[in-house]
């Protein structure tokens, strides 16, 4: 009992500074309703992704990402009891498509941004910390990549690698890492000059310790902010590729493809231009809110993480 109280007190004392930090961060997020909205949107999408099998039970047991179709007619059909959001060209069920498409989007976003982060951090750190020839080589590569238009490069890559989702992700990773490497390099150059890094060197820390304990933790936050903004952006680019017919195989639950199905149905027949509104609007809104959610969340991260904005 006595011991428990003591341990609790010790624990409280330990956690106090961290709690204070968290409280402070939360208070800043609370003060901005937009960040809250972002958080809400992303949580909503996460729940949709998790609950996908219950929201829309797969028809093809072992291929849950294949959108069930109801006939082969080209003309979309409006929402009805059986097709909550209607069907799109080729009678693919829109409701099913957007629900499972959420999972696809998260997969694209996380895989691409995660890989980009790792590649960017490793190359950027090497470049920034060691400088010299290493820096020169990496940075000139970055320059080369960044001087090419992203989307076109990605298209070329996907065409070369073959049309499927994995290749889209690979292409996005290849075109996506350079800005990260450059950003982290800049931050590392800044942090490297700080006295605490010099002090760590004077203590006899190894380069590895210095990079991972002293430099990266202080340089990585702008990168994380950028990453959270990019989750949305990458999904958007992937959708663009899908829209151009370079993405997922036909019938795969993917928002970009849903929109590409609706390509011919954006404007309805004369006299009724909004006849097929659901075909393009619904997947469009999903993409819109997904990207918006990540953008708002990115801003919230910036508020929380950026030490420069924290006075004191």
């Amino acid at each position: 009992m006595e011991l428990g109280v003591k341990a609790w007190k010790e624990f409280k004392r330990r956690m106090e500074p961290r709690l204070k930090e968290v409280k402070f961060s939360l208070s800043r997020v609370r003060k901005s309703p937009l960040s809250l909205a972002g958080l809400f949107l992303i949580l909503l999408f996460v729940s949709i992704a998790i609950a996908a099998p219950y929201l829309a039970s797969p028809k093809h047991r072992y291929e849950p990402y294949r959108i069930p179709r109801d006939g082969y007619s080209a003309t979309p059909r409006p929402p009805s009891r059986t097709h909550l959001f209607g069907t799109t060209e080729g009678q693919y069920d829109i409701y099913y498509g957007v629900i499972w498409g959420t999972r696809t989007s998260f997969r694209i976003g996380f895989t691409v941004v995660g890989s980009i982060l790792i590649i960017g951090i490793i190359l950027g750190s090497l470049s920034g910390y060691y400088g010299g020839v290493v820096d020169e080589i990496i940075m000139r590569t970055v320059d080369t990549f960044m001087s090419l238009p992203t989307l076109i490069l990605a298209m070329a890559l996907v065409s070369a690698l073959g049309h499927n989702l994995d290749n889209v992700m690979k292409a996005l990773i290849i075109v996506g890492w350079p800005p990260y490497a450059r950003l982290i390099r800049g931050d590392i150059l800044r942090v490297r000059e700080e006295d605490y890094v010099e002090a760590a060197r004077a203590l006899g820390c190894s380069d590895f310790t210095i990079i991972f304990k002293h430099v990266l933790p202080n340089a990585i936050y702008p990168l994380l902010v950028m990453a959270s903004l990019d989750v949305g952006a990458m999904v958007l680019t992937a959708a663009a590729l899908s829209f151009l017919g370079l993405g997922a195989p036909i019938g795969y639950a993917d928002w970009g493809q849903m929109i590409s199905f609706a390509r011919n149905w954006i404007v309805g027949p004369p006299g009724n231009p909004l006849a097929y509104w659901y075909a393009v609007t619904i997947p469009g809104l999903f993409i819109l809110f997904f990207v918006l959610g990540w953008n708002l969340l990115g801003d919230a991260f910036r508020d929380i993480l950026d030490p420069k904005l924290r006075r004191r």
Partner: protein
Amino acid sequence: MAKLLEVKDLVTNFYTYEGVVKALDEVNLEIEEGKTLGLVGETGCGKSVTALSILRLIQPPGKIEGGKIYFRPDGKSSKKSSYLDLLEQSEAFMRKVRGDEISMIFQEPSSALNPVYSINDQISESFLLHRRRELSESVVREIEEKVDKADSILKKIVYKMKRGTYRKMLVDENSFLLKFLSGIPVVSSYNGWLKKSAKKETIEILKKLGVPHPQKLVDRYPHELSGGMQQRIVIAMALACHPKLLIADEPTSNLDVTIQAQILDLIRKSRKDLGTSVLFITHDLGVVAEMCDRVAVMYAGSVCEISEVKELFKNSLHPYTKALINAIPKPGGKGKLKSIKGTVPNLINPPSGCRFHPRCPNQMKICRQIKPELTRVENNHLVACHLFTGQR
């Protein structure tokens, strides 16, 4: 001696996330015409906030909450030459006062200089802003000479037209016609004369400040100059319009001793030449001893002692002043420095009563309860401490 500026019970707060920072708690100051008042104190005691409050430059989340700042303008920016409460004047009036009547030098010269303008542009600007009329006068005089000498009729006409515009400026520097003219491309070149004469003035003032090769210097850019030279330019800018009051916020804290000696010398000389009063903010008691006639010592947002310099060093009364003087290394002095125990209080939750009481060796019961008023102890010596207020 007449008072130039009197600050009474000035209160300024900052509304931050953590709470209200009570940065100034009834600050009282007086500056006499032609004298230098030193304002000393440790980091965060509110020296800069006092200076910014006087100029009404406090930015949100800060707010001036109370008090009076009486200032007697020169009649340059207003017809009246009696005391005005700056806190009650319009923002437009304050804009005129800033730079013209009261100007300020900051600690970091590079932040006061705009890197994309040449030295001439920066110093001329304050002439062009506040001294249009005087400049036009000299331009008119110059043109008059030229009109007489002009050989062709065409030239004569051009000169006469220009003279007309400048005379207009003499009558009303903000007239609509002039604004209209300066909007038209070719015609706006009439400003050229004005600029030329401003440049002349600029070189003149730099020469007066003992800057070597002013003619060459005016065309250079701030980053090409050393810190000491930059600070000299900033001083030239501040003195350009012969202000009545110069507020110098730690002007030499970032400079080397030998450069500091140069700058202090410069301020001392120009103060004498122009008869400017100075509010000299610093944390270096050595600089105070060299520069100031009177000293105000600040602690945690209020002034705790004001007296003549010599008196202060010889016969300081407030326990904080005493401790401060004992804490600085003195030439030839060996033995232990006496530090002040404890730390500077957090201004969000300042101590009750006398804000110094938790660190004071002489604290009494009353110190914890009542804030001591600034009381005249001797003729020119004011102290805010219960040891001297008569209340015990």
